[in-house]
C-alpha cells in the first residue's frame, strides 16, 4: 500500500464522478488542441510560402485577393499587368529582386505558372530528377503534381484554360515534362512551373509576320510580380510609389495575412473560448466531486488522521486525486485532439488546400496542458483544505 495506491483506490471508489471529470477535461483540452494545431500549422504554412516575398505587385483590385493568388495560389488573380511593369519595378530603388508570375492555365486542377528560374530558388525547391524547364513548352512539376497525375520526365500534357478543372483544352500546345521537384512542404509542391514564354505562346498562337510578332510582344502581360526589398526602408516608400501608378497595386503578404487572421480570428477565438469553457466546467466538476465526497468521506478522513496521516497529507491526497483525474483527462484530450487533426488532415489531403498533421506538437500546447493541470489542482485545493481540517476525534464521534 502506497500513497499512489491509496489515491487510485479512492478514485476507483467513485467511478462515475471520476469518469465525468476525465471526459470534461478531455473534451475541453481536445477542442483547444485542435484549434491550436490548426492555427499554428496554417500560420506556419502561410509564413513559409510568403518567405522572401516582401511585396506582391499586380493589377488594381483587392489586395487580399492579390496575395492569396500570388503567394498562396488560393484565389484567382485580380487581373494582369503589362510585362513592362517588371522592368519598371526592377529599376526602382529599394528593389532587390522582382520575379514575374503568369497565371491562367491549369492541368487537372494544378496551376501552370509561367515564371523565371529565380522562383524555384525563392521556394527553396530543388529538382528530384530531370532538368530545369529551360525552354518554352518545357515544364517542371511540383512533387504533389507528379504524384497525383502520374506524369514523369519526358511525359507530355496539355493545359486547360482557367485555374480550375474543366476548362477548354489548349489542344495543340502540349507541354513536355523536363523535371520533377523534390517535396518542399510548400505551395510549390502543387504547381507546374514553366518559362513565361510558354504561357504567352499558348495564348498568342503563331504570329503571321514580323509586324504581328512585334505587336504581340508589345502587348505581353504577366499576372503579378513578387518583389523582395533591398533594404527595410523600402517598405516605407515602395508600396506607395507602386500604388501611385494607375495600373499597379502593391500588397504586403505579411499585412494581408494578418488581416486574414483577423477575419478568421473571431471564429478561432470562439472555438478557443468554447474549449476554455469546457475546461472551466471540468474544474467545477473536480470541485463538486471532491466537495460532495467530503461528507461521505468524513469518517474515512478522520480514520486516516487517527492512523497517523498529517493534515498536510490529507490535503496532498485530495489535491492529488483532483490532479490525477485532470492529468488523465488531459492525456486523453491531447490524444483526442491530435487524432482529430490527423484525421482531418488525411481527409483534406487529397484536396490539398490545407495540409494538417496531428503528429506535430506545438509549443503553445504546453501552456494549455499546464493551465489545465493548474486549474484541476486549484479546484481541488478548497475541498482539500476543508478535508485536511477533519479532526481525528471524529472517528469516535458517535457511539
Amino acid at each position: 500500500m502506497s500513497t499512489a495506491g491509496l489515491l487510485l483506490a479512492s478514485l476507483r471508489a467513485r467511478p462515475g464522478a471520476t469518469l465525468l471529470t476525465v471526459l470534461l477535461v478531455a473534451l475541453g483540452l481536445a477542442t483547444a488542441t485542435i484549434v491550436t494545431l490548426a492555427t499554428t500549422q496554417l500560420e506556419a504554412r502561410l509564413e513559409r510560402d510568403a518567405r522572401g516575398v516582401d511585396l506582391v505587385v499586380g493589377a488594381k483590385g483587392s489586395r487580399l485577393q492579390l496575395v492569396l493568388a500570388g503567394v498562396w495560389h488560393l484565389d484567382v488573380p485580380p487581373g494582369n499587368v503589362p510585362l513592362a511593369a517588371v522592368d519598371e519595378l526592377r529599376a526602382m530603388p529599394g528593389v532587390a529582386q522582382a520575379i514575374p508570375l503568369a497565371l491562367g492555365d491549369s492541368f487537372r486542377g494544378f496551376r501552370i505558372v509561367g515564371t523565371e528560374p529565380a522562383f524555384v530558388e525563392l521556394q527553396r525547391a530543388r529538382l528530384a530528377r530531370g532538368a530545369p524547364a529551360d525552354a518554352p513548352m518545357r515544364a517542371v512539376l511540383g512533387a504533389d503534381v507528379a504524384a497525383a497525375t502520374g506524369l514523369d520526365v519526358g511525359a507530355r500534357f496539355a493545359g486547360t484554360h482557367g485555374l480550375a478543372e474543366g476548362g477548354a483544352e489548349h489542344g495543340e500546345d502540349a507541354f513536355t515534362v523536363s523535371g520533377v521537384l523534390a517535396p518542399t512542404g510548400g505551395v510549390v509542391d502543387r504547381l507546374i512551373l514553366t518559362p513565361l514564354e510558354s504561357v504567352w505562346r499558348v495564348h498568342e498562337g503563331e504570329p503571321a509576320d514580323d509586324e504581328e510578332r512585334r505587336e504581340l510582344e508589345a502587348s505581353r502581360e504577366v499576372t503579378m510580380v513578387l518583389v523582395r526589398y533591398a533594404t527595410p526602408l523600402a517598405a516605407a516608400t515602395l508600396p506607395r510609389r507602386v500604388d501611385a501608378s494607375d495600373r499597379l497595386q502593391a500588397a504586403s503578404p505579411a499585412l494581408e495575412a494578418a488581416r486574414l487572421f483577423r477575419l478568421v480570428g473571431v471564429g478561432l477565438d470562439g472555438a478557443r473560448a468554447f474549449g476554455a469553457l469546457l475546461l472551466a466546467m471540468a474544474a467545477l466538476s473536480v470541485f463538486v466531486a471532491l466537495f460532495q465526497a467530503l461528507s461521505d468521506r468524513r469518517r474515512e478522513l478522520a480514520l486516516m488522521r487517527l492512523l497517523g496521516a498529517s493534515p498536510a497529507r490529507l490535503f496532498g491526497l485530495l489535491v492529488g486525486e483532483g490532479l490525477a483525474t485532470t492529468a488523465l483527462g488531459a492525456a486523453l484530450g491531447v490524444a483526442l485532439g491530435h487524432g482529430a487533426v490527423e484525421l482531418a488532415g488525411a481527409w483534406l489531403a487529397p484536396r490539398g488546400e490545407l495540409p494538417l498533421t496531428g503528429r506535430d506538437f506545438a509549443t503553445i500546447e504546453w501552456a494549455w496542458i499546464g493551465g489545465t493541470l493548474a486549474l484541476g489542482a486549484l479546484a481541488a485545493a478548497v475541498p482539500a483544505r476543508l478535508a485536511a481540517r477533519t479532526p481525528p476525534a471524529d472517528v469516535l464521534a458517535d457511539d
Binding site: G5, L303, L306, L307, G308, A393, D398
Partner: protein
Amino acid sequence: MSAPPALSIESLVHRRDGRTVLEVPRFELPAGARAVLVGPSGSGKTTLLSLAAGLLPTQAGRVSVAGTELAALAARGARALDRFRATRVGLVPQQPMLFGMLDALDNLLVARHLAGLPPDPGAARELLGRLGLAQLAHRRPRELSRGQQQRVALARALVNRPALILADEPTANLDDDQAAAAIELLAGQARALGAALLVATHDARVRARFETVLALPARAGADADSGEGR
C-alpha cells in the same frame, strides 16, 4: 526496572462548554495489563478514550502513555502526537470503519503506511491468519460479514504493535456467545503482543471478565453520548 505503565492518569479534568464532563483523580494500567472502563451513557467513557489516544488535548492533569506524557508531546507539535498515536496506540472503534475501497490486507498495510512504518506484508498476513482471516485477505469490506469486518479492524489496531489498545464498546449489538468470543479475542491478541488493553463498555457481561475496573460516575445533567469526543 520494570516497563513504565501503559496508561497513567493523574488529576485529569476535562470540561466542555463550561461543564465538567470527566474527572479521573488517578488511574494506572501497568504494561501488558488489562482493564475495563465502565459507566453509564454520558459519563465520559469516549472522552477518556479520546484523551488517552491523544485525539483531544489534555486540559488539566496528566495523561501518559508508555511513559510519554501526551501534553508534553503535543507541545512539540501535532505531527509528533500523530506519529506517537499511530505507532503506540491501537484503537478499535465501535464500528469497524474499514477503508471500503481497500481489501482486508491493504486495510492493514495502509495503517503501517500512514504511521510512516515500512510495509510488512508477511507480518500483516500472519496477523490476519491468527484472526482466522487468512483466506479473506483480498476481500473488500463489503464482501465480509460484520464479525469478519470487526476482526479486520482489530487486526488493523494491532498491526503496528502498539503498547496500548483502546477498544470502544466492542460487544455492542453482539449476542452472549459473540460477545464472549470478541473479548477473548481482544484479550488474547493483546497478551500475544504484550500490549495493555482498556475496554470501554456499559455491558455487564464484559465487566465480569475483567479484574481491574475503572468506573466513571454518572454526571448530573449529562445527556446522551452523542457529541462526545468532539
